[in-house]
């Protein structure tokens, strides 16, 4: 383990040296860079959410079977300056949160091109920015976040920005969950930007900096002062011209934005 760490450190140093030299030659203003690890955890009642487990939502048993979103324009802010960490990532709890340990670890994305310095803000978006949203999965390789056929909805001409799917109980006996809910959100008006200010993040040379964000999953079901009544609202009907569908999709999009908590 120690050797691995040493090796990792050494290679980081070497690559830093290399990059620094590279930068000097081309663009000296870019300066030194380092790694930032951003971790997302999905939480339910303050504990890591397990996919396919039963939870209580306002007196009703529910189970979440799929939970994912596109993370766009993740960037650090330094006063007025903004440094992009990542343009687009697909954050999927469906496969990571299948065990307690997996859920506790969350989904981590690491970027090693972050400038050194002190930052006081973080901004990120839920969704696919409109320029990228004009593309389709076939434009990308299968390993690219935007190369996933399952995350594009051709009838909207849009990626599916976020998915919450699951089942809920209707008869008070939670052994079988009779009905399902499917909240897929997409199209440009559903893009949401969230900013965190008054932060204190220092990126250092040779060590990675962690940023940890939680998603309060219960907040995804927020409706006014209470929660969505799943027997009434359980799917977003696809037609973008449908005002009811639009209202529900907007509500879910806002909920995604508001569910983000900086740890």
């Amino acid at each position: 383990m120690q050797n691995i760490l040493k090796l990792a450190f050494l290679s980081l140093l070497i690559s830093l040296l290399f990059i620094t030299i590279g930068c000097d030659e081309t663009n000296s203003s870019e300066g030194d860079i380092t790694q930032v690890d951003v971790t997302f955890r999905a939480m339910y009642n303050e504990a890591p959410l397990e996919i396919n487990e039963r939870y209580d939502l306002d007196g009703r048993t529910i189970m979440i079977e799929k939970l994912s979103f596109y993370l766009a324009d993740l960037s650090l802010k330094d006063g007025i300056k903004e440094f992009s960490i990542s343009e687009i990532d697909f954050i999927d709890f469906t496969t990571t949160n299948t065990s307690q340990e997996g859920a506790a670890a969350g989904v981590q994305i690491s970027k090693n091109t972050v400038p050194l310095g002190d930052f006081d803000g973080l901004s990120l978006s839920i969704g696919v920015p409109s320029d990228l949203n004009e593309s389709v999965p076939s434009d990308f390789s299968s390993s690219h976040p935007l190369g996933r056929t399952s995350e594009h909805w051709s009838q909207w001409d849009s990626y599916i920005f976020s998915k919450i799917e699951g089942k809920y109980d209707t008869d008070g006996d939670p052994t079988q969950l009779e009905e399902s809910f499917i909240f897929h959100v997409g199209t440009d008006p559903m893009f949401r930007i969230q900013e965190f200010t008054d932060m204190d993040i220092t990126t250092k040379e040779g060590s990675s900096t962690s940023v940890e964000l939680d998603i309060d999953v219960k907040e995804l079901f927020r409706s006014g002062t209470g929660y969505i009544d799943l027997t009434v609202e359980n799917a977003i009907h696809s037609n973008p011209d449908n005002p009811e569908g639009f209202a529900l999709a907007s509500k879910i999009s806002d909920n995604w934005k508001n569910s983000l908590i900086l740890r």
């Binding site: 396919n52 076939s138 299968s142 056929t149 594009h152 699951g166 009907h237």
Partner: protein, 364 residues
Amino acid sequence: MLIRYSLILLTAVFIFTSCKKEPPIDENDLSHIDYNPVEYIVQIPDEFPMLEVPADNPMTQEGVQLGRRLFYDPILSADNSMSCSSCHQLNLNFTDGKATSPGIDGIAGNRSSMSLENVGLFYNGLFWDGRSTSLEEQALEPITNPIELNNTWENVISKLKESEDYSERFRKAFGITNKNEITKELAAKALAQFERIIISNANSKYDQFERGDAFPTDSEYNGFDMFFDISPDMPDAECSHCHGGPLLSTNEYINNGLDEALDLNNFPDLGRGEITNYIFDNGRFRVPSLRNIALTAPYMHDGRFQTLEEVIDHYDSGGHYADNVDPLIYNLGLSEQNKQDLLAFLHTLTDTTYLSNPDLSNPF
């Protein structure tokens, strides 16, 4: 000093012996045959995903042609009775028309043969359960599978080496210099190259009306509308959530409600769960493409439905309960007319023109 003397001696001996008789001819040597592989360019419709070819198995004319022969050659089976093409028949869109596919000994498998149409464009695992991650890896399996070709690779390789034609083709495709370099990995690479050219055209009636080149009938249009959940006036059939995109499959692993399982251990075939050991993956199978679906009855991983009508009835009913049935599987409430429309739409997905590509046919 000693070394120098012995070297001279050795050289002398060498010259002497070589004078005595001709240098031994290695009859397995292939280096005299030209090795000049020509790139094979695969035509892929613009709207399809890109073809991702492993760096160590580039597409060549020679590789594809070798793979094509292997695919159709019963030499691969223990008793020379079957080839890949027995269960993946060109005229049945590369399936076999059977619910489950019996191998050389007539032992029925438990799974239905899969169409190989566009198989090179599926990147989320192969087989119904995704147990294989690449075509190169996949091609190794049928040879030794007792319910398929039930052979051994040693046997296949020795038959291939005995054949001058195959030896020459392996040389031309992969540059080997000796028959002994023919391996199962190279055979699998050739088969994979052939499978990567099984790419359909995007020219079904559905593709044509998507592009505005043809008009659907009212019934076809209504089916299309329900399949893709387009208008609020028609019921949503939800199909395209799973059978979406240009290949009409998202390739995810899903339980579409075929079997009731109040206990998730009770599926007759565990499917994906057998590979991942995650109980919620039990009873999940890979979503198949629906291109040319009208040609590949019977349907589902075990071929349980004989017709598309039965398939539609299944989805309309909402299937059977298990905790992991996908939330999109529920009672759709379709009318008889709705079902006929959906069926009419599924028939617009037929386009067999790609099957006349001469490189796909039996070379024997």
